[in-house]
C-alpha cells in the first residue's frame, strides 16, 4: 500500500513535469514556425505574433530568475520571489483556513435547516458574482476601522473566493449519506450531532476534496488580486505589476512573477492532494 502510494506520487510528478515540458516545447515550436507578424482571421487578430517581444524564448523566461533583483541588495530575482511567495502563501493559507471554517460551517447549517439552505444559497451564489476589485476597497475600509493590519484584507478576500466551492461541495456531501445509514443511526437513538460527526462527515469527505482543490487555487488568486489592487503588500501580486513595468525592454521579465504565481497555486493544490491521501488512507484502513 505504501509502496503503491509512493509510486503513484512519483508517477504523478513525472507526468506533471512531462506536461510542463510539452507546454514549453509547444511554445517554442509555435515560435519557430508561426508567422512573425501574426495573422488575422476574418479581420480579427487572433494568431499571435512570434517575435521575441511578444513570445520570449522559454529559456529567457527562466533566465529572469537569475537576474540581480534591483533594490534588494545582492539578491537575485529568484530569492526575492521566494520571499514574496512565502509572504503570499501564508496569506493564502490563512484565507483558505478562514474560507474552510466559514464554508463548512455554512454547509452544516444548511444541512441542518432546510429553510436556511433555501434562503441562503441564492445569496451565496450572488456573492460570487461580485467582482473582487469592487469588494476590495470596502473590505480594506472595514479593516482600517477595526485597526487590523493590511494582510488581513488579503486573507479575507481569499476566504471570500474560497468558501463558496467548499460550502457547495460539503453541503452536497452531507446530503449524500445513504438513507439506510441515517435510519440505522436513528435506531441507535443517536442525536443529530453524533450522526453528523460519525456518519455525515465521513461520507462527505470524497465530495469535499474537489471543493477544497478549487478553494486552494482561488485563495491564491484572492491574495494576488488584493496585492495588485490595494497595495501595501509586497508579495507575488506586487511582483507581477512591478516586473510588468519592465516589459518594454525586458519582455520576459513578467514571466518570473507569473511562474511564481502558478507555483503557488500548485503548492496550495498539492497541500490539498496530500491531505486527501492522508484522509483517504486512514479511511481505507478503517473500512477494511
Amino acid at each position: 500500500m505504501r509502496v503503491g502510494l509512493a509510486e503513484r506520487a512519483l508517477r504523478r510528478t513525472a507526468l506533471l513535469l512531462a506536461a510542463l515540458g510539452l507546454a514549453a516545447v509547444a511554445w517554442e515550436v509555435y515560435k519557430a514556425i508561426g508567422p512573425e507578424q501574426g495573422g488575422d482571421i476574418f479581420g480579427w487578430r487572433i494568431i499571435p505574433k512570434t517575435n521575441d517581444r511578444v513570445m520570449p524564448h522559454v529559456w529567457e523566461m527562466f533566465a529572469e530568475f537569475g537576474r540581480p533583483a534591483i533594490g534588494s541588495g545582492d539578491q537575485q530575482v529568484w530569492s526575492v520571489l521566494l520571499g514574496y511567495s512565502w509572504f503570499t502563501l501564508r496569506m493564502a493559507f490563512a484565507g483558505l483556513a478562514l474560507g474552510a471554517a466559514i464554508g463548512v460551517g455554512l454547509a452544516v447549517l444548511m444541512a441542518r435547516l432546510r429553510i436556511v439552505e433555501r434562503g441562503l444559497l441564492p445569496y451565496l451564489v450572488i456573492s460570487q458574482t461580485i467582482p473582487l476589485i469592487a469588494l476590495a476597497p470596502q473590505v480594506t475600509v472595514i479593516r482600517g476601522t477595526l485597526g487590523l493590519p493590511q494582510w488581513t484584507s488579503a486573507a479575507t478576500l481569499a476566504a471570500f473566493l474560497s468558501f463558496f466551492p467548499i460550502t457547495v461541495s460539503t453541503l452536497r456531501g452531507l446530503q449524500s449519506v445513504p438513507k439506510a445509514s441515517l435510519e440505522l443511526m436513528d435506531s441507535y437513538a443517536a442525536g443529530w450531532w453524533t450522526t453528523l460527526v460519525k456518519v455525515r462527515f465521513p461520507s462527505a469527505v470524497p465530495y469535499m476534496i474537489p471543493g477544497f482543490k478549487l478553494a486552494a487555487t482561488a485563495s491564491v488568486i484572492g491574495v494576488i488580486v488584493t496585492e495588485i489592487t490595494l497595495g501595501g503588500l509586497r508579495g507575488v501580486g506586487f511582483a507581477t505589476i512591478d516586473y510588468s513595468q519592465k516589459v518594454t525592454s525586458q519582455p520576459a521579465s513578467v514571466y518570473a512573477a507569473v511562474f511564481a504565481a502558478a507555483a503557488l497555486g500548485l503548492i496550495m493544490f498539492g497541500l490539498v492532494v496530500l491531505s486527501e491521501s492522508f484522509v483517504m488512507r486512514k479511511r481505507s484502513r478503517e473500512t477494511t
Binding site: N51, I70, G71, T140, L148, Q150, I241, T248, V254
Partner: protein, 405 residues
C-alpha cells in the same frame, strides 16, 4: 502589451487595467515602503518614518506630529522630494514624522485623503478636481510640478510631428482620466476625435508602439519615454536612440494640464489649527526635499531606491532628472505656487474637452476654494537659505542602459 503578448500576461494585466476609481485605505504597519516586507506583521518597515523619528528625538521639537502622505504609485523618483525630505531629516527638522504610503492599481490618492485615510495626497490636478466635484472636500496646497510631463511618442519615419499629423493615425492613450491632453490637442488641431483619428486604449508600457500596433503612444517624459530608449532595436542590435522617434510635448503644444500637486483636507485646514500648522511644515520640508533633489540628482535617486523602489539605476536617475525639469526653474516667486494662468488652462480643458464618450473631466467651475497659495507662502517663510527658485538650474545628461539598469 495587453493585446499583443500572451494570454497569461494579458489576464494578469487586465486586472491592472480594469481597476477603476475606488478608494481604500491603509494605515497599518505593513503598508511600509521598504522592500524588506517579508512578513505580514513586519512593524518596523517604514524606513522613512523611523529615520525621521530618530532625528526628531534628537532635535529641539517639543512634540512631533505624525502625518501620512499617499502617493499615486509605487516608490519611484517621481516622488523623490518626499523621500529625500524624510531621508535628509527635513521632516524631522519641521517636527514631523511622515509616513509615506505607496500607491497601487486601485489606490486613488485624493479619495484616500477625502476619506481620512491619509493626511496629504499627491494627485494630478484634473483628476483631483473631478473627485472634488464629486463631493470630496480637498484643496491643492502646493503645485509641485509646474509643467506637464505628457508626451506622444511615434517613430520618426511615421511623420507625426504635431497633433495635426494625428489625422488618420492610430493614437494610443491611457484612459482613466489620463487622456484629456490628447483630446485637447486633437481638438486644438481642428480634428474630430471621433472620425479623424483612431484612438485606442494603451497599456502603461510601450510594447504596442514598438510592435507597430499603434502609431503614437502616450508616454511620460520620466517613465515610458525612457522605457523605449532602454529597449534594443532589433534592426540595429543597439538601444533605440532619441532620433528614432518624434516626440510631441503637450506642454509645448499649449494643452498641458497641471500634474503632481500636494492636496490637503480643506475642512481640516479651516477648523483644525494643528493640522494647518502641520500642513505648512509638511509643504516646507517637502519643497526643501525637492530642492535637495535638484542639486543631488544621483543621491536622490539612490535614496528612492533604498526606500524600496525596484527600478533600474539609470532609469531611476533619468526619472529624477526629468522630474526636476518639470519643477525647475520656478517661473513664479518660488516652486509650489499655483500659477493662475496654468490653473485656468487646466480647468478650461477639464470643462470643455469631451472624450469619445462625450464626457468632460468637470461639469462646472471648481470655484475659488480648489487651491490656495497661503500654505506654500507660509511654508517658504519657514525655510531660510533654501533656493526655491532654481534660476540657475540646468538638467544633467543621463545615459540610459539596456533595461534601465
Amino acid at each position: 502589451m495587453k493585446r499583443s503578448i500572451t494570454t497569461i500576461t494579458a489576464g494578469v494585466c487586465a486586472l491592472a487595467l480594469v481597476a477603476g476609481a475606488c478608494g481604500s485605505d491603509d494605515d497599518a504597519a505593513s503598508d511600509d515602503t521598504t522592500v524588506e516586507t517579508a512578513a505580514p506583521d513586519d512593524a518596523g518597515g517604514d524606513e522613512a518614518a523611523t529615520d525621521n523619528g530618530a532625528d526628531a528625538a534628537a532635535g529641539d521639537c517639543e512634540t512631533t506630529d505624525s502625518v501620512s502622505l499617499q502617493l499615486q504609485w509605487f516608490t519611484q523618483a517621481q516622488f523623490g522630494g518626499y523621500y529625500a525630505a524624510a531621508d535628509q531629516g527635513f521632516y524631522a527638522d519641521q517636527c514631523l514624522d511622515v509616513e509615506i504610503k505607496e500607491g497601487a492599481v486601485e489606490i486613488v490618492p485624493q479619495a484616500e485623503l477625502a476619506s481620512g485615510n491619509a493626511d496629504f495626497a499627491i494627485a494630478w490636478v484634473p483628476k483631483a478636481l473631478q473627485t472634488r466635484e464629486a463631493g470630496a472636500d480637498i484643496v491643492n496646497i502646493a503645485q509641485v510640478f509646474e509643467r506637464s510631463g505628457t508626451l506622444q511618442v511615434s517613430f520618426a519615419d511615421n511623420g507625426i510631428e504635431s497633433p495635426a499629423d494625428f489625422e488618420g493615425k492610430v493614437i494610443g492613450n491611457w484612459g482613466f482620466g489620463n487622456e484629456y491632453e490628447v483630446f485637447a490637442a486633437i481638438g486644438a488641431a481642428g480634428l474630430d476625435p471621433a472620425t479623424d483619428v483612431e484612438l485606442v486604449g494603451q497599456q502603461f508600457d510601450m510594447i504596442a508602439l514598438l510592435e507597430g500596433e499603434i502609431d503614437a503612444a502616450e508616454a511620460m517624459t520620466y517613465n515610458e519615454y525612457a522605457q523605449v530608449l532602454e529597449a534594443v532595436n532589433p534592426d540595429t542590435g543597439e538601444l533605440y536612440q532619441p532620433e528614432d522617434f518624434n516626440v510631441i510635448s503637450y506642454e509645448e503644444e499649449g494643452v498641458g494640464m497641471l500634474q503632481d500637486a500636494i492636496w490637503a483636507d480643506a475642512g481640516r485646514l479651516a477648523d483644525d489649527t494643528e493640522y494647518r500648522d502641520a500642513a505648512v511644515r509638511f509643504v516646507a520640508a517637502s519643497l526643501q526635499g525637492w530642492a535637495f533633489c535638484r542639486d543631488n540628482v544621483e543621491q536622490c535617486a539612490t535614496i528612492v531606491t533604498e526606500a524600496g523602489s525596484t527600478l533600474g539605476e539609470s532609469h531611476q536617475q533619468w526619472m529624477m532628472n526629468e522630474v526636476n525639469k518639470l519643477i525647475w526653474p520656478a517661473s513664479g516667486a518660488n516652486i509650489g505656487l499655483i500659477d493662475q494662468a496654468a490653473w485656468d488652462q487646466t480647468v478650461e480643458i477639464s470643462e470643455n474637452t469631451p472624450n469619445l464618450d462625450g464626457a468632460t473631466v468637470l461639469t462646472g467651475d471648481p470655484g475659488d476654494g480648489a487651491f490656495t497659495n497661503d500654505i506654500v507662502t507660509e511654508a517658504v517663510a519657514l525655510l531660510d537659505g533654501v533656493d526655491l527658485v532654481g534660476s540657475g538650474y540646468s538638467p544633467t545628461e543621463i545615459t540610459l542602459n539596456e533595461g534601465g539598469n
